[in-house]
Symmetry: C2
Subunit: 228 residues, 2 copies
């Protein structure tokens, strides 16, 4: 499907494996894309750097980096340096959950989308190979879409926003295979929650585990550089 | 009603007439209060100053000022200095509407509330004497509450958030009378969208008009200093 001239989309884009795949999917449909990267002062700057490196090869994408300091709030191993990223699996929602993160990100995305007259908001949430975060589930996304169409001028006047989640029911291997077909270079993407100071992935955190298994299940070489 | 020991509430608190009344209402119920002021780089700093001045007389309230630069997004006369605040009434939702503002504010409030183990979030929205902003209506608030209970760890695990809107069906005069009974000093509150450089209210913007009429309808002296 090609969406035709001047059809615009906003893509929430972290520089990770999932959102980079979403960016490629949206681009393949012919959208004029605004990629929105939220710098929330996560543990390391490599995600932001990755997002810039990936966008560097897409001259037609408008890249916005928006700052919001979620370390002020804390409550997560990703936003509070006194909490360690776990190396072992835990039961329930892990401590890497950031309180209301996707709600905050989608709210900022909706604000930009309304300003830029964009109605389609892409987000790379996934409810299969994931850590159980509540704000990655389809019921949350559906509810957010309903809410934002009540809480905005455009939405309440009938020009509705749509929150689009192309990965939500894919396995990590399916996501990787989809991206590769679209030419994604995953060596530039960053997933690890606990990178070393020189940017090497830990290989042990939830996010690394899902990523490793994804490449293995897809029978594709994993380009990630892991710590020795 | 007194909610008893250690019952906590988070109050979204701008330093304006409405949210200062909400603060007084929550306090009168006996909550231990965290007041959250969002500095979104609105047209003038007087709101932030007002919020500090008001909290100064409440030593038992935890005051948090959180920064998010919505002028990066713009799209409103309050967040884009190239757009003028209208002096005349317009039809429909006015240009002072800030895209998705209350969604963003409530999302940040919910993130803090989850971190601080607070379940009751107060917000001073009003759908009677108001500018028609979609994110002040009861249907938006109900939808936000549903969404946030799907999108957070606490909410999804059954420890639900409640978004409480004591003013939603009050006239401005009723709000003022309620606040006065609770000892609110409205001279410290700021409502004007278009303050002069020395902090005097314009008397003409939507927000000034509702405020003026409120004091008049309540048959109470208006302590606001208006520009000559």
């Amino acid at each position: 499907m090609n969406v035709g001239d001047n059809k615009k989309a906003l893509v929430l884009f972290s520089g990770g494996l999932d959102s980079t795949t979403v960016l490629a999917i949206a681009k393949s449909k012919g959208y004029k894309i605004t990629a929105l990267t939220i710098n929330y002062k996560q543990r390391h700057d490599y995600e932001i750097l990755a997002s810039k490196n990936i966008i560097a090869s897409h001259s037609d994408i408008n890249h916005i980096i928006f700052d919001i300091d979620l370390t002020r709030i804390g409550g997560s191993a990703l936003t509070d340096s006194s909490l360690d990223v776990p190396k072992e699996e835990s039961s329930g929602i892990p401590i890497t959950y950031v309180p209301a993160r996707n709600t905050i990100f989608l709210s900022i995305a909706a604000s930009y989308a309304e300003k830029l007259k964009i109605r389609e908001i892409y987000i790379g949430v996934n409810a299969i190979d994931y850590s159980g975060y509540p704000d990655c589930r389809p019921e949350f996304i559906a509810s957010f879409q309903e809410m934002i169409n009540l809480g905005t001028k455009s939405g309440s006047e009938g020009s509705s926003f749509e929150v689009i989640t192309p990965l939500i029911n894919m396995t990590k291997a399916e996501i990787i295979k989809t991206g590769l077909k679209l030419g994604v270079d995953y060596s530039h993407t960053v997933s690890c929650y606990s990178l070393s100071d020189n940017g090497e992935a830990c290989g042990n955190c939830d996010s690394c585990k899902f990523r490793k298994k994804g490449f293995m299940d897809a029978s594709v070489d994993d380009p990630t550089i892991y710590q020795k």
